[in-house]
Symmetry: C2
Subunit: 236 residues, 2 copies
C-alpha cells in the first residue's frame, strides 16, 4: 500500500534499477544493524533508536522501510534463513555427490563459518527463547526448516537398508540429529571457549557416523572419534 507505485512501474524490479538497488542496500544495512543490536543487547534491549544509531540513520527510516519493528524483525529472520538455505543447497547441489555425501554436506553446512557466527547464533536463540518472538519465527522460517528436513529425509530414505535401524523412522532419526546440532549451537553461543566451531562440526559428523556405521567411515565407527578443541581463527 505504501510501497507500490501503481503508475510508474507495476513490475517487481522496482521503480528504477538505481533506486531499487539503493533501497535493497539500505534495507540490508538496517537488517545488519538489527542483527548486531540483538546480539549485543538482546531482543528486549533492541530498540529502533539503537538500531538506527548502529546503522547510522535517523529513527524514522526503519519504519519507512519496514513499517514496524515487528516487520523489521521478520525481515531480519528471513534474511538469515535465506542465507542458510543458500548455503546448504549450494553444498548439496553437486550432482556428483553420493546420497551419503549429500547428507554429510547438509550436516556440515550447519557448521559453515558463514553461519556459525556468534552474532547470528544469538539471533536464532533470541527468537527461540522469547514466547512472543517464537510465533514470528514459525510464521517466517517454518517452511524453510521443513524444506531442509524433507530434503534430509529424502536422502536418508534413498540410503535404504544400508542406514540400519535408524531407517525404522527416518524422520524421527533426523529430528534427533538436528536436536544435537541445536544443542551444539547453543553451547557455541553460551560457552565459546569450550565449543569451537570445527570441534562441534567434528562432533556432529562423529554422531552421524555412529548413527549410520554401515554408510560412513566403512563399518563399525567410533561413537565420538576425536572430541577435541580446534584453534582455527574464526569470526569475532
Amino acid at each position: 500500500m505504501t510501497q507500490q507505485t501503481a503508475k510508474t512501474r507495476p513490475d517487481d524490479s522496482g521503480p528504477t534499477p538505481g533506486r531499487s538497488a539503493a533501497k535493497v542496500a539500505r534495507r540490508l544495512q538496517l537488517i545488519d544493524a538489527t542483527i548486531r543490536c540483538i546480539a549485543k543487547h538482546g531482543l528486549s534491549g533492541t530498540t529502533i533508536a539503537k538500531v538506527s544509531d548502529l546503522a547510522g540513520t535517523s529513527v524514522g527510516l526503519a519504519n519507512f522501510h519496514f513499517d514496524s519493528k515487528e516487520r523489521l524483525f521478520e525481515a531480519t529472520l528471513l534474511h538469515l534463513a535465506h542465507e542458510q538455505r543458500g548455503i546448504w543447497q549450494a553444498r548439496a547441489a553437486d550432482p556428483s555427490l553420493t546420497p551419503a555425501e549429500r547428507l554429510l554436506a547438509i550436516v556440515e553446512s550447519r557448521f559453515d563459518s558463514r553461519i556459525c557466527q556468534r552474532r547470528k547464533l544469538a539471533i536464532w536463540f533470541a527468537f527461540w527463547g522469547d514466547a512472543g518472538a517464537r510465533v514470528i519465527y514459525r510464521r517466517v522460517v517454518a517452511d524453510l526448516d521443513d524444506e531442509r528436513l524433507d530434503a534430509t529425509v529424502a536422502i536418508l530414505t534413498s540410503l535404504g537398508a544400508g542406514a540400519g535401524q535408524a531407517m525404522a523412522d527416518p524422520r524421527s532419526a533426523i529430528l534427533g540429529m538436528e536436536a544435537f546440532y541445536d544443542g551444539l549451537w547453543l553451547n557455541m553461543l553460551l560457552y565459546p571457549d569450550d565449543f569451537k566451531r570445527l570441534a562441534c562440526r567434528d562432533r556432529a559428523i562423529g554422531h552421524l557416523a555412529a548413527l549410520f556405521p554401515a554408510v560412513f567411515s566403512g563399518g563399525a565407527a567410533d561413537p565420538l572419534p576425536t572430541p577435541l578443541l580446534d584453534q582455527e581463527a574464526d569470526d569475532a
Copy 2:
C-alpha cells in the same frame, strides 16, 4: 539493608516464625507468577504489572520483596536452579548405586517430569536467548551448573578404562552429552508434538549407551535403540 532489622532479631530465621513463613510464601507466589509470565509473554513481554496481575497482588509488592525487576528475575532463576539441584542430587544420593547407575540417574534427572515442563523450559531458553539475561544467568546459575558438571566428570573418571575412548577427555565427552540434552530441551519447547519427554529421555539414554557400550547394556549397543514417541500424559 532494607530487610534486616538489627534490633528485634539478628538471626536468619526472620522477625517471627509466622511472619517469615508468610513472607517466603509471598515471594514464592511472585516467583511462580514470574515463571508463568515469562513462559506466556517472553522476557521482553514480562512486566511488573503483568506479574503482579498474575500473582493477584498490587504493583508495588514485587519491588517491596525483590527491590527490582532484575532481582526478581535472579530469584526466579535461582529458585529453578535449586529445584533442579535438589532433584539430581536426590536421585544420585542412593549409596547402593554403582557409578554407572549414578551417571544414568543424573542424566535421567534432566528429563524428570518436575523439570521438563514447558513452562520451566521456557525460562531457561528465555535467559539463554537474551544477551542481557545471559549475564544474569551466569552470575546466578554458573556455580550450580559447574557443580553438576564436576560431579558427572568424577563419576566418569571412576568408571575408568571401561568407559572406552571417551575417557581420553571426560570433560569434553560430558560437555557433548549435555549439549545433546540441551538440544532435546529446545525441541521439547519448540515442537512439543514431535519431542515428548519420555521419548527424549530414551534418546538421551540411548546416546549415553552408545558412548559407553562397555558400561551400559553390556557390550556393543545400538546407537539409537528405539527413537519413538511416547504418549504419557505429561504436564500441560
